[in-house]
Amino acid sequence: MSRILDHPVFGKIHERELVSFQFDEKTYQAYKDETIAAALLANGVRKLRVHEESGTPRGIYCNIGHCMECRVTVNGQANTRACLTVVEQGMIVESGKQLPNIIKRMVEQR
């Protein structure tokens, strides 16, 4: 996706400082003071994680911190909301992965 640099009522966005960060070991550029969710979407990334149990893909849903759908790992801190966390230079962001569900597998095999 691209950015909305000009707007008929809000006007133009002026030059902003750029920072770089990593998402799943790939480097992306973001504007200073923008959220991880906005920066990734601007870079064309919608998928932020997979569901821990089912492995199905997830992205932002509410974008204001209510739903927890955009949870990612930021500098080692798990379950951080991408929509409320501002990108910082050198930040390491990782998507959520599918986790083993040993008990469910045991139940299924009975």
């Binding site: 950015r3 909305i4 906005a38 919608r46 509410c62 974008n63 409320l84």
Partner: protein, 412 residues
């Protein structure tokens, strides 16, 4: 030590903080978002006068006013619990515990989700999420979108997305299920749009509003509702189409849509797939009231106010000593109402703290009257029966909690 902790830096919280601070109280405002303004940020519409209501500017104005009064505003802080101890409240946050005698809970609203098969796919978002991404973060949410759900909020944000050059292909209803409820009933949608006919987004609805007061005419209107919908700012509103499934592998690729009869029931064999790379779900708003609940505040279900709301008086007190509420947590209305309520809550707190001049009672009375005036002049009304809802809460308060009443029971 601080006197007041305000939770939420939106229109209600900031206005409340300002009127507390103007009366000499020390105030700290907490908010999860990275900048103050709450959901004022992103609001953009043209008033009947032709003037633009720019929420970002309103937020800046309130922020500056609060700064002038030395209000301590802390952003990026999440509150997860409220505890009463003696005459004080402990506010638990992700960065530690804060304490004050008074707490104003101004947490606003959240969106009702409408679970449609496929709604967990990346690219599906609430309509409010699209608003924030577009107007606050200035990032395009996609190239071509479909809105599921037709209500006032959806039309307001449709307009904002179009202003930013985002293409919305169509608005359809969700499939009728026990969860989607009224949002999937073409007649209910028609009725709610007609109640707001003076601001209806389509000339047809504006025109129709005068004639469609009777049920049978409305039914007739739906029977002959154009299959391709009526245009709302150029986007077709299709009341006789329902989203059956959002499809895509790793992200949204389209929506499977079926034709429906006048009751919203799917006509077999009528399914079509419309391509899209994003979908907005518009389920409407409900008061975000968990913090008042964990504090132990009694609640009442008032559908006209948007759902379960903490019991509160006209001057924004709750039955719990030192705990106040303002804004959408008390009922779904506009940002202007939230500001007017915040002002009332602030004056109310100042009065209880023994602050303010001799005219504080008069100021409070005027501020309460101001809420009514703002409501009467509102261009957008989320619930046409809002007055009824407010009246219900007023009577409930009088019956159960008004001072000096023997029936008062402290809960929590």
């Amino acid at each position: 030590m601080r006197d007041v902790i305000v939770i939420g830096a939106g229109p209600a919280g900031l206005a409340g903080a300002i009127s507390c601070a103007a009366n000499g109280l020390l105030v700290t405002v907490l908010d999860e978002f990275m900048k103050p303004g709450g959901r004022l940020l992103g609001q953009l519409h043209q008033e009947p006068s032709g003037e633009w209501w720019n929420g970002i500017k309103e937020a800046e104005r309130l922020h500056q006013e609060a700064n002038k009064l030395a209000v301590d505003i802390r952003c990026g802080i999440s509150v997860y619990n409220l505890e009463q101890e003696g005459h004080h409240w402990h506010v638990h946050t992700n960065t530690g515990r804060l304490t004050a005698r008074f707490v104003l809970v101004a947490t606003g609203a959240a969106e009702y989700p409408i679970p449609v098969p496929g709604w967990t796919l990346p690219g599906v978002m609430s309509i409010g999420a699209a608003q924030v991404m577009t107007n606050v973060h200035r990032v395009q949410v996609g190239k071509k979108g479909i809105i599921i759900g037709a209500n006032i909020l959806a039309f307001a944000i449709l307009n904002e997305l179009q202003l930013a050059g985002i293409n919305i292909d169509r608005i359809v209803l969700p499939e009728k299920t026990p969860i989607s409820g009224k949002a999937a009933e073409p007649e209910e949608i028609m009725k709610s749009l007609l109640q707001a006919a003076h601001l209806a987004p389509s000339p047809l609805l504006r025109f129709g509003g005068r004639f469609m007061k009777h049920d049978w005419i409305r039914k007739l209107g739906l029977t002959f509702f154009p299959k391709n919908g009526v245009k709302v700012n150029g986007t077709p509103l299709q009341l006789r189409k329902a989203a059956v499934e959002i499809i895509g592998k790793d992200q949204v690729e389209g929506v499977r849509v079926a034709d429906t009869d006048v009751n919203g029931m799917i006509i077999p064999g009528s399914e079509t797939i419309y391509e899209a790379d994003f979908v907005c779900i518009a389920g409407g708003l409900y008061p975000l009231a968990e913090l008042a609940a964990v504090a132990g505040c009694p609640f009442q279900y008032v559908p006209e106010l948007g759902g379960h709301v903490p019991c509160h008086s006209e001057i924004m007190e709750t039955p719990l000593e030192g705990l106040f509420v303002a804004g959408n947590i008390t009922g779904i209305e506009s940002g202007k109402i939230a500001m007017a309520q915040g002002n009332v809550a602030g004056l109310s707190i100042a009065k209880q703290a023994g602050k303010g001049t001799g005219t504080i009672d008069q100021q409070l009375q005027q501020a309460v009257q101001n809420i009514r005036n703002v409501r009467q002049n509102a261009a957008i009304q989320f619930n046409p029966e809002i007055d009824k809802g407010r009246k219900k809460m007023k009577e409930l308060w009088k019956e159960h909690y008004a001072k000096g009443d023997e029936k008062f029971h402290k809960i929590g």
